[in-house]
């Protein structure tokens, strides 16, 4: 059984918040190596773990995880600003 690849922004969000892998791992209840596997997209989390990660960052799951490659946040922000007609 081959599982579908899941893309995520965990590494980006973690670095943005200045949190170490060990600190994140302790909060979400996994080994720090597992955080590395998640960030490298070599391991797909269970739904429960995905929810814990989403709660930790205070962001919706579909903002952190996607079945399609994720665009850079700067690109999405620019697109959003353009849609709103901001300068």
């Amino acid at each position: 059984m081959e599982s579908q690849k899941l893309y995520n922004r965990i590494g980006l969000l973690r670095q943005e918040r200045g949190v170490s892998r060990k600190e994140l791992a302790e909060v979400i209840g996994v080994n720090y190596q597992t955080v590395g596997y998640l960030e490298r997209e070599e391991y797909n989390p269970s739904l429960g773990l995905a929810f814990r990660i989403s709660e930790f960052f205070g962001l919706p799951i579909d903002f952190i995880f996607s079945t399609k490659p994720m665009k850079p946040l700067s690109e999405e922000l620019f697109k959003l600003k353009k849609e709103r007609g901001d300068e």
């Binding site: 209840g29 080994n31 190596q33 391991y43």
Partner: protein, 143 residues
């Protein structure tokens, strides 16, 4: 925690460990059947026992693989549980085939069961899941 050996180093260690284990079993079988000078017997057994012990220490003990596979199940996170269960699944298949093949050989030849062989199989039953992880995983699980 443990020292993370390269995958090729771990594989080499696993091969050395099992070859030394097989050598111990064969030596004891030869000793039982043939008259060999005592000093040769002692020297040969000492060499293979040391080889088994050293390779066990480097591959399974120092890397933490032994304690990883013998950890209580609730101490694993979900990824580690997957690794542990997969290693047990593969180890079970390998171990079953080896034991049943040995039993078949013994039943066909009607030879008495060698106690050292049984001890070797008990050792193998314990290290086989760790061997599977050492052989297959790119990064050894740590705690």
């Amino acid at each position: 925690m443990g020292t993370n050996l390269s995958k090729s180093a771990r594989r080499a260690g696993v091969v050395v460990n099992y070859l030394a284990l097989i050598a111990i079993i064969i030596f004891f079988e030869i000793i039982r059947r043939m008259e060999i000078p005592a000093w040769i017997t002692v020297a040969a057994i000492a060499v293979v026992v040391i080889a088994t012990g050293v390779s066990y220490y480097i591959v399974y003990h120092r890397t933490g693989l032994w304690s990883f596979v013998h950890r209580s199940f609730d101490k694993y996170d979900e990824r580690e549980a997957g690794i542990a269960l997969n290693s047990l699944r593969i180890a079970y298949a390998i171990f079953t085939v080896i034991v049943l093949s040995i039993m078949l050989v013994y039943s066909v030849t009607e030879a008495p069961v060698n106690g050292v062989l049984v001890a070797g199989l008990i050792y193998m039953a314990h290290v086989l899941p760790a061997s599977v992880i050492a052989w297959t995983e790119n990064i050894i699980p740590e705690k």
